[in-house]
């Protein structure tokens, strides 16, 4: 468990640093890949609700700190995203090959919507058409492209948790 926490922290920390230094500079019609979100989805799918929520909270704190944005905004959104995808992974999604792509697609949309609403509530200038019509399609495409390699990496780092079946041995 501690090893998982360390690996998760390291992966998301690297993802956050790469996100704020490199990927956020890619701008195609205001859309940019969100490596933190994709990594969080992968981790949450593999490790469940609590791990996903905690990872989202931590990753959000790093992002908000590094970008000097309102502290807690990214944490809130990523915590909810991590929890929700973790729940999906714990119930039906984990062993399905399409689960990472579906999760990333849905979370990208909900994350954009949530961020938009939150920024509205905080009084930040935010254009709904720019976020949802211009940026979202490209962000979705970028995130789906990132999903395969990121999920494959996370799957290697976070082996599926023991199911208990390993302990059953046929004797005789």
């Amino acid at each position: 468990m501690i090893a998982d926490i360390a690996k998760g922290a390291a992966v998301l920390f690297v993802a956050a640093i790469v996100q704020v230094t490199l990927l956020s500079q890619i701008d195609v019609f205001y859309g940019a890949p969100d490596l933190v979100l994709v990594t969080l989805v992968a981790v949450a799918l593999l490790r469940g609700t609590i791990f996903g929520a905690a990872a989202g909270f931590g990753a959000g704190l790093v992002v908000d700190t590094a970008t000097l944005q309102t502290l807690g905004v990214s944490s809130l959104l990523l915590t909810i995203a991590g929890y929700w995808i973790g729940r999906y992974g714990e119930t039906t999604g984990r062993d399905r090959s399409h689960a990472p792509f579906v999760s990333v697609a849905v979370v990208t949309l909900l994350y954009s919507l949530g961020a938009l609403i939150l920024h509205y509530m905080l009084g930040d200038p935010a254009s709904a058409s720019r976020v949802l019509l211009d940026a979202f399609p490209f962000e979705l495409i970028f995130n789906l492209i990132l999903t395969l390699p990121v999920y494959a990496l996370c799957r290697r780092l976070f082996r599926p948790p023991p199911t208990g079946l390993e302990e059953v041995r046929l004797l005789g």
């Binding site: 230094t21 989202g56 790093v62 807690g72 915590t79």
Partner: protein
């Protein structure tokens, strides 16, 4: 656990949002950003070559599209510049005509009709142009044609809406002219020579020639007196010929002619 984290996030947002920029959370964030700074710098340095490569290729794509756009802009501005230059030259031309019409050298007893040249001489043999005004505008055969610079020629054929003008430089055009300075009289032929000037008359290079506008009994010149024709460029004579050899340069620039004034007698 997740609920606690959500509540913690909301608390962070609330406190951060309500506190001043020197508040505790801001300071914590500042310290955090300072701690993260080396990692960001390292990531930036590691990714710099890739970003530069991406920027280079993206710049090439951008430069290509921008090149196309700038070329279209250039074509557009070039056309506008040409139109503006044409409008400016036309304005200058019209101002010269206006100045001529309002000047004392404009012949008395004449009105005028302005007309654009709609057809230029097709060959070097027939120095004639077609103008966009005809008998409907009051133009008749042999009406003199001028510009702001001076005499252009004569109307030699008239239709309802168009007229054919034989230019001063046409071989068929002859104008009785007068040296303004010495009063020497002769005939300007084809706009290039001042003929029939007796050896006893004085003509010098640089002298200006105008139409003489003679009258003889019931006959008179088709050109009113005093219309500038050109300037003497060379004078010579020999023992054999009866007259001087005088060359002149017409004032009107026939290569850039675009519109003219047709002089119409008021008493017609």
């Amino acid at each position: 656990m997740a609920g606690v984290l959500v509540l913690l996030s909301i608390a962070l947002i609330t406190i951060y949002f309500r506190e001043s920029s020197g508040g505790g959370l801001h300071q914590v964030q500042s310290v955090g950003a300072t701690v993260l700074r080396p990692f960001e710098v390292a990531a930036d340095r590691v990714s710099r070559p890739f970003r530069d490569a991406y920027g280079y290729f993206a710049g090439l794509v951008h430069a290509k599209s921008e090149n196309g756009r700038l070329r279209r802009d250039l074509d557009k501005w070039r056309q506008e510049a040409t139109q503006n230059a044409y409008a400016a030259s036309e304005k200058t031309d019209l101002l010269k005509k206006l100045h001529f019409v309002n000047s004392r050298s404009f012949p008395g007893g004449f009105g005028f009709v302005g007309a654009d040249i709609i057809s230029q001489p097709p060959t070097a043999f027939a120095q004639q142009v077609v103008i966009a005004a005809g008998s409907a505008s009051g133009i008749r055969k042999f009406d003199p044609v001028v510009t702001g610079e001076g005499l252009v020629g004569t109307v030699v054929r008239v239709t309802h809406k168009q007229s054919l003008v034989a230019l001063l430089i046409d071989d068929t055009t002859s104008v009785v002219a007068l040296d303004v300075k010495t009063r020497a009289q002769g005939i300007v032929k084809a706009g290039s020579s001042f003929d029939h000037v007796g050896k006893d008359q004085r003509v010098e290079a640089g002298d200006k020639l105008v139409t003489a506008g003679w009258k003889l009994g019931g006959l008179s010149s088709i050109y009113p007196p005093g219309i500038p024709i050109g300037q003497v460029t060379a004078v010579g004579q020999n023992d054999v010929d009866l007259y001087k050899h005088v060359k002149l340069q017409p004032f009107a620039d026939f290569k850039t002619l675009s519109s003219v004034l047709v002089l119409i007698p008021k008493n017609r």
